[in-house]
Amino acid sequence: IPAPAPVQKTAQAEIYLSQFGYLPASAKNPSSGGLLDQETWERAIRDFQSFAGLNVTGELDSETTELMSLPRCGVRDKIG
């Protein structure tokens, strides 16, 4: 498997966080213009960092984007 390229852009992180249940599904397609307020965005990152056992910073830091690029199961972490 090619070495995972860390998730660079916020857009990819948005797709990832909505794919795995941290953001509303609408965010999965950022081109739909689904605007996100800062609080929702930061909470989503905090939730993911907490679930994954990372330092909970609320920021898309390198440790977080690195983990987002690892191979994983496609089932959502947060289910309704």
């Binding site: 498997i1 679930f51 994983r72 972490d77």
Partner: protein
């Protein structure tokens, strides 16, 4: 889950199967693995869960089944497309949504190897979803969402065990299951010693697993099936009845990842597929296993690299069927390389819990594949085989 200070633990999706005897079907196989290998690995993956519950999993070749398994690429009809190598490896549906499991066939699925993506581990995880488990935030849990690389000494985390037993209760039945390591085996019944020859003399000729996940010990012309606690009831039986055409007093045996079991005695060897002889046997060891001596003491497939190891006297050989020559010039090597092991072994086994075990006389050793030495635990190894393996 509670507040941010919540303790880490498993999560249940909210649905489960109302029945415990489930069926499954592999309706689309991966491109790069042999079907028989995939059958064996997925059976082992299901056995992870039946080892701790009364769930049973029966493979079928036709629908209807409870759990359908498919290896697909990209968009595959469920609106949740795969993404090529890396990224998402597989997904599965909770019981309320059908329980099916899909694997991304763009991945390099491997068996017993640190290369690629380990099929057994990912399948055991996905089948957890098929049974109603969601992701756990315990990083060491099988149900954690991230693939953590090949683990030759796979063991289910207690978090996973609590989760599956919260849904389906503890295991009450005996029989073929994903046994815990013998270090935690406790005989739940003690056969009358006079009934069990192995209690009087626990030395065995060989011990091996079959592709179905059963463990057998051979002694003289008889064989015993071992459960997770002891010798299964109704044994010993005659080897010649269990494996028609096979002699007694076998020196060594192992089941390779092709699902076939190989038996060795003196200068000869036999190959079986299940209980049927798989061709015109016996053949000379020098024919089929070039570079391996006659009259070996023990043999096994090591979980650390999937290669076959033979032991005789003070030496061992490594046999790799995929290489030419299959035995490098640098072999044999001294058994003392396997730190803590004695020479002149009787038997060796990679048990279905992933640990490697060696047997000599009335004792056995558990080998730590990570430290490459006999496990240093309490009570220490070697331990009495009769108590821990035969339920005496």
């Amino acid at each position: 889950f509670g507040s941010d200070s919540r303790s880490k633990r498993y999560a249940l999706q909210g649905s489960r199967w109302k029945v415990k005897n489930l069926t499954y079907r592999i309706s689309k196989y991966p491109k790069r693995l042999k079907r028989s290998d995939v059958d064996a690995e997925l059976a082992r993956a299901f056995a992870v869960w039946s080892g701790y519950t009364d769930l049973t999993f029966t493979p079928k070749s036709t629908n209807p089944v409870h759990i359908e398994i498919r290896f697909e690429e990209n968009e595959h009809g469920d609106g949740d497309p795969f993404d090529g190598p890396g990224g998402t490896l597989a997904h599965a549906y909770f019981p309320v949504y059908g329980g099916d499991a899909h694997f991304d066939d763009a991945e390099l699925w491997t068996i017993g190897s640190p290369r690629g993506t380990n099929l057994f581990q990912v399948a055991a995880h996905e089948f957890g979803h098929s049974l109603g488990l969601s992701h756990s935030d315990v990083r060491s849990a099988l149900m954690a969402p991230f693939y953590r690389g090949f683990d030759p000494v796979f063991k289910l985390d207690s978090d996973d065990i609590y989760a599956i037993q919260a849904l389906y209760g503890k295991k009450t039945t005996r029989g073929a299951s994903y046994p815990t390591s013998p270090s935690t085996r406790k005989p739940s019944f003690v056969p009358r010693a006079e009934d069990n020859e192995l209690c009087k003399d626990p030395r065995i000729d060989t011990i091996f697993n079959t592709a179905e996940g059963f463990t057998y010990a051979f002694k003289g012309d008889k064989y015993y099936r071992l459960t997770e606690n002891a010798v299964a009831e109704g044994y010993p039986k005659l080897i010649s009845e269990g494996w028609p055409g096979l002699e007694g007093d076998i020196d060594a045996a192992f089941t390779y990842k092709n699902g076939k079991t190989y038996f060795f005695k003196g200068t000869k060897y036999w190959r079986y597929y299940g209980r049927q002889m798989d061709g015109d046997y016996p053949k000379e060891i020098s024919d089929g296993f070039v570079g391996i001596p006659d009259h070996i003491d023990a043999a096994m497939v090591w979980g650390g690299n999937g290669k076959i190891y033979f032991y005789k006297g003070t030496k061992f050989w490594r046999f790799d069927p995929l290489k030419r020559p299959p035995v490098k010039q640098t072999y044999p090597k001294p058994i003392s390389n396997w730190e803590g092991l004695p020479n002149n072994l009787d038997a060796a086994l990679q048990y279905t819990n992933g640990y490697t075990y060696f047997f000599k006389g009335d004792k056995y050793y558990r080998f730590n594949d990570r430290t490459f030495s006999v496990d240093e635990v309490n009570p220490p190894f070697p331990r009495p085989t009769a108590y821990w393996w035969f339920g005496c």
